[in-house]
Symmetry: C2
Subunit: 235 residues, 2 copies
């Protein structure tokens, strides 16, 4: 059986930067499950028609087609119960908060910092779509929204509870990484793949956690292609 | 056996506003455990000497003396395992994040809004201690820190992940309240007891959750004495 993940790519097929797809790639590695990733771009709407869906990640696992990163993590826990990602009951309910925290608090601060780098990393054919959808959502142009100074200050503030959590253990989920770690770390992979911006100072406890996360699963995160690795791509 | 909780009080012995003590009072009610609260003020250092501790909450449960609100919740789970508050493993690790989120993200925004009301609710003999310790921590005078406009904007931003979480279920912990709800709600009880400030608009999903939390355990939160109930106390 081939397990396939449709995974957003940018100017290069190997540049995979979606925070949602990163959650799933790390979750699959956590479960020890092999996967073949298939590069997908914003305009490849037909490629996902079989899933009746319009955005990635989409996981095809044998007969099963699962969309939405959080739902994929839940699906993996149901189908492969060893090494829980989200768990059940209180663990799952609380795990969901990390998703919201990453998407609603961290992501806006990061986007403000890296948005022009992100645009640059997106395939030229996708840039008009990206600009149009994001400017509509933000209510202003990408250039107006772009402010690394504001974004980094916002991010510094947003990281306060992560810092405190990481004073209590090596990972957000305690002594070993699990779903909460992947839900949050996906955003850091997003920024890392498209930008060389230093989001976290090396004196920050979050920095040590990022280093540990990058090393997990044979360096899955650390070995990912970054835009800075592509000749002439980073402007 | 008498179970005793040392509980911060203000200008009136019945005015109990500590967010940390509220966590514990709600947690005890969640477990169906009776408790006798004993009013304590910041200057009553000798009253806690038996616990080798200098701040509340302090819980005396038979032979056991437990300090720190989070540790008390853990103690209650160990000793009375029915109706878990924090749970174990992933649930407990993630539960801890709500403590940090409440203390590091929500509390500063709320304090900025209500700090002068809080000072007013504190017993006159405790005000010098309160001012001195808080001004040292804040690096400026209470008056300089006080800014409801900034605090409410900060709080509005801080509530984003709570809002999203409450779109998925009635409580932060899912269909029924547990530790995460109490850890966060303690801060709202703090503000409610000392101030009449409207922190959350009634169109906000957080508002509905606050109403449900106030009603829990025979209206423990809703029936608590507020400074506005004390004649001549609210200025």
């Amino acid at each position: 059986m081939t397990r396939v993940l449709y995974d957003l790519c940018g100017i290069d097929e190997g540049l995979r930067f979606s925070p949602y797809c990163w959650r799933v790639r790390l979750a699959l590695a956590h479960k020890g499950l092999e996967v073949q990733t298939r590069p997908w771009r914003f305009n490849d709407t037909e490629a996902l028609a079989f899933a009746d869906h319009y955005q990635v990640p989409v996981l095809v696992d044998g007969e099963e087609v699962v969309t939405d990163s959080y739902e994929i993590l839940r699906y993996l826990d149901r189908t492969y119960p060893e090494a829980p990602l989200l768990g059940e009951g209180l663990a799952e309910a609380r795990g969901r908060f990390f998703k919201h925290y990453a998407e609603r608090v961290m992501a806006p601060a990061m986007l403000r910092t890296i948005v022009m780098d992100l645009l640059n990393a997106i395939h030229p054919d996708d840039r008009a779509y990206f600009r149009e959808t994001r400017e509509k959502r933000l209510g202003r142009t990408l250039e107006e929204f772009h402010s690394p100074a504001k974004g980094l200050a916002q991010l510094d503030h947003a990281l306060a509870p992560l810092r405190a959590q990481l004073a209590d253990g090596d990972f957000l989920d305690g002594d070993a990484p699990a779903g909460a770690d992947y839900l949050v770390f996906g955003n850091f992979m997003w920024a890392r793949c498209v930008s060389s911006a230093d989001l976290v100072s090396n004196a920050d406890p979050v920095y040590g956690w990022l280093e540990r996360m990058l090393d997990l699963h044979d360096g899955l995160g650390r070995n990912a292609l970054r835009v800075t690795d592509i000749e002439g791509a980073y402007r």
